[in-house]
C-alpha cells in the first residue's frame, strides 16, 4: 500500500517540493524514514506515531517506510510531520475521501495531534505555486504568510483529526494585486510603515543630513566620523525613514528571508519596513555572512533592501569587516558547504560610524585628545583601504558648540527628505531602464563614462582635485558617481561643477581618515 503526499524543504531562500512516499507492507512493525532526513525529521517518527494514535486513528502495525524524494537533498525541520502522518493515514485508507495529490502539506505535529506553526512557509508556498499545485495546507498560524501568494488555495488545519472530517476552513487566498478599490486603499494605508522617529529630531548637523540623503538616493555606502555624542547613531537610525517604500518584489524577497529565520510578523503579511540591522561589534564571521551546516541567512542578508549599520566600525574584528567586501560588490552572498551551495540576497546600504581615535576627541574643539600617534594609527588601520574604498561618502560629524545647540535652525523633516530621495530614485530608474542595475552606486567602467559625461571645465576641476588631494583612480570613479546622485537630487540633467565639488569633499578621509 503506497501513498504519496507532498511537502517542501528549503535550500537557501528557495523552496523545493519534496515527495513524501509512504509504503506499508507486512512484517514486523518498523518505522523508517529514508531520503537524507535531518535529526528533526527523523524524530518526526515519534511525533507522528503519537499524534496518529491520539487523534482517533489507528497506527498500523506494519513495516512503514517513508521516502523523501529527491533523496539527494538534506531535509531539515519539523514541518514534514503533517505530510508523513497523512501519507501513512492515506496508505491505511483512513482518509480515503481526502485526496493528497495537488496539495502541499506543511505542519509540525504535537503528540496530541495538534498542528503547530513552522518556519519558512512562504518560500515553500511559492515553490508549490511554481510546481502547479492546487492548494497548500498550513497550520492556522501560518495562514497569513501563505495567503501572500496569489492563485493558490490556502487551507488551514489545526488538528490531525480534521483530515478525516475534511471539514476544513477553506478559503481562496486574497489577491494582493487586484481587488476592489476600497480594499486596495485600506491595504495601502496599512502598508505605509510608521516610524516614531524623524530627521526633524536632530539639531543642526545639516551637512550630515545632506550626505545621508545623497547616500540613500544613490544607494551609496557612507561612513560618519566624529567624537562621541554628536548624534551619529541618531542619524543612522533615521535613515530608513527617508528610504522609498518597497515594491512587491522587494517585499517578497525580504519576507522570504524573514520567513526562513522565523522572524516574520505573521499578522502583518508582507514585510513593508526596510530593515535596519545593527549587529554588535562582537559579531562572528558566520553570523555576519550567514552559515551553519544548513546555511541560514546572516546579518548582511537580514539587511537586504535596507541598512546595515556598523556602529563604531573600528571595534569590529578586522576579519569580519574584510568579509563585507564581496557582498558589497555582488549584492548577494554564496555560502558553500560540503553538502550544498546556497545563495542569499544581500543588497543593503552600509552605514558605518566611527570615532576619529580611541579616546574619541581627536580634532575636537572642546576637548583635548590624549591618544598617542601609534594608538591612532592602529585604530585607523582597523578599516582597511579596500573597504574604505567601497564607502563612497565619507563625512565628518563635528561636535556642536553651545551657540549652535541653543539657536539651531530646524532642518527638513523625513517626509521632505524622502520626497527628494524618491525623485532621485525615479530619475535613476528612468535612466537605467535598459540596464540590469538601478542605482548610481552600481555604475562601472563604460557605463560610468556613458551616463556621467563631464565637460572640459569639470574634467580640469577633477584633475586638480586628484592631484592636490592625492586621490586614487578608484576614488576618481567614486566622485563621479556621487556627483551623478547629487545632480539627480538637484533635478539636473548634467553634472555641474557644483555637484562635482560637493562630491569631492565627500572623499575627505581618502588618505587621512
Amino acid at each position: 500500500m503506497l501513498a504519496v503526499s507532498k511537502c517542501g524543504t528549503l535550500l537557501g531562500v528557495e523552496g523545493i517540493i519534496v515527495r513524501v512516499e509512504a509504503d506499508l507492507s507486512r512484517g514486523l512493525p518498523v518505522f523508517d524514514i529514508v531520503g537524507l532526513p535531518d535529526t528533526a525529521v527523523r524524530e518526526s517518527k515519534k511525533r507522528v506515531k503519537a499524534a496518529i494514535k491520539n487523534s482517533g486513528y489507528e497506527f498500523p502495525l506494519k513495516r512503514i517506510t517513508i521516502n523523501l524524494a529527491p533523496a539527494n537533498i538534506r531535509k531539515v525541520g519539523p514541518h514534514f510531520d503533517l505530510a508523513i502522518a497523512s501519507g501513512i493515514l492515506a496508505a491505511t485508507g483512513e482518509i480515503k475521501n481526502f485526496p493528497l495529490d495537488n496539495k502541499l502539506l506543511i505542519g509540525e505535529l504535537s503528540l496530541n495531534g495538534k498542528v503547530h506553526e513552522v518556519k519558512g512557509v512562504l518560500p515553500m508556498v511559492i515553490a508549490a505555486k511554481e510546481a502547479g499545485l492546487e492548494s497548500v495546507i498550513v497550520p492556522e498560524k501560518n495562514k497569513f504568510e501563505a495567503e501572500l501568494i496569489d492563485d493558490i488555495e490556502v487551507i488551514t488545519i489545526s488538528h490531525l483529526k480534521d483530515l478525516k472530517k475534511y471539514r476544513l476552513y477553506v478559503k481562496k487566498s486574497f489577491n494582493l494585486k487586484i481587488s476592489n478599490k476600497k480594499d486596495e486603499k485600506e491595504r495601502k494605508k496599512a502598508f505605509i510603515p510608521n516610524y516614531e522617529i524623524d530627521f526633524i529630531d536632530i539639531k543642526a548637523q545639516h551637512e550630515a543630513k545632506r550626505a545621508i540623503e545623497i547616500a540613500v538616493a544613490g544607494a551609496h555606502n557612507l561612513i560618519m566620523i566624529g567624537p562621541p555624542g554628536v548624534g551619529k547613531t541618531m542619524l543612522a537610525k533615521r535613515i530608513p525613514t527617508i528610504m522609498p517604500s518597497l515594491n512587491y518584489d522587494e517585499k517578497l524577497a525580504l519576507t522570504r528571508i524573514q520567513s526562513i529565520v522565523g522572524k516574520i510578523d505573521l499578522q502583518k503579511g508582507l514585510q513593508n519596513r526596510r530593515p535596519f540591522r545593527t549587529p554588535h561589534h562582537s559579531i562572528t564571521k558566520a553570523s555576519m555572512l550567514g552559515g551553519g551546516k544548513i546555511p541560514v541567512p546572516g546579518e548582511v542578508s537580514l539587511a537586504h533592501t535596507g541598512v546595515l549599520f556598523l556602529d563604531e566600525i573600528a571595534e569590529y574584528k578586522r576579519e569580519v569587516l574584510e568579509l563585507l567586501r564581496q557582498p558589497l560588490e555582488e549584492k548577494k552572498i554564496t555560502i558553500s558547504r560540503s553538502a550544498l551551495k546556497v545563495n542569499f540576497p544581500c543588497d543593503f546600504i552600509l552605514i558605518a560610524s566611527s570615532n576619529p581615535c580611541p579616546c574619541g576627541y581627536y580634532g575636537d574643539e572642546r576637548r583635548e585628545c590624549n591618544c598617542t600617534v601609534g594608538q591612532i594609527k592602529r585604530y585607523r588601520n582597523k578599516i582597511s583601504g579596500p573597504l574604505m574604498d567601497r564607502i563612497d561618502i565619507q563625512i565628518e560629524v563635528p561636535s556642536l558648540n553651545a551657540d549652535e545647540l541653543t539657536t539651531f535652525k530646524k532642518g527638513d523633516s523625513s517626509k521632505i527628505m524622502k520626497k527628494r530621495v524618491i525623485k532621485a530614485y525615479n530619475r535613476q530608474k528612468d535612466r537605467y531602464e535598459k540596464e540590469n542595475f538601478n542605482y548610481n552606486s552600481q555604475l562601472k567602467g563604460d557605463k560610468l563614462n556613458y551616463y556621467c559625461q563631464l565637460n572640459n571645465e569639470n574634467k580640469l576641476l577633477l584633475k586638480n582635485a586628484v592631484r592636490e588631494l592625492g586621490l586614487s583612480a578608484r576614488a576618481y570613479d567614486r566622485i563621479i558617481r556621487v556627483a551623478r546622485t547629487i545632480s539627480d537630487i538637484e533635478n539636473s540633467q548634467t553634472i555641474t561643477s557644483d555637484h562635482l565639488a560637493e562630491a569631492i569633499q565627500y572623499r575627505r578621509f581618502e588618505n587621512n581618515f
Binding site: 507486512r26 512484517g27 514486523l28 512493525p29 502495525l61
Partner: protein
Amino acid sequence: MKFKNKKEFGSWGEKKAVEYLLEREYKILFKNYRNKLGEIDIIASKDRFLLFIEVKSRKNNSFGPPQTAVNYKKQMKIKKVAKYFIMENNYKNYQFRFDVIFILYSQFNDLVNIRHLKNSF
C-alpha cells in the same frame, strides 16, 4: 485450557507453532536450539530455505500487540545465534530466512489464532 505458569504457556505455544509448520510441510531441524550466544525457538527448512523462527504467545494484548515484542535487540540476538548456527553446521547452499509466529490464545472461547510473518527481519 489452563496453564500452570508462563513457561508452560510458552512451550504450549511453541508446540502449536511446530504443528502449524508440519502441516505446511516444513521440516523441523531443531526445537529450542541453544548455543553460547542464546536461543532460537525453532529452526526449520523447506525448499532450500533455512528458517529461524521466533514464537511469541499471548493471551491478551495488555502488554501491547505481540508484534512489538520482537524488537530490534531481540532481532539482533536471533541473528547472532543464527550466524553461529550456520557456521557450526556448515549450511552453505541455503537461503536464510527469519520468521516470527504469533500465537494468540483466547481463554473465553478456547480459540487459537496463528499468524506467520515470513521474512520479517
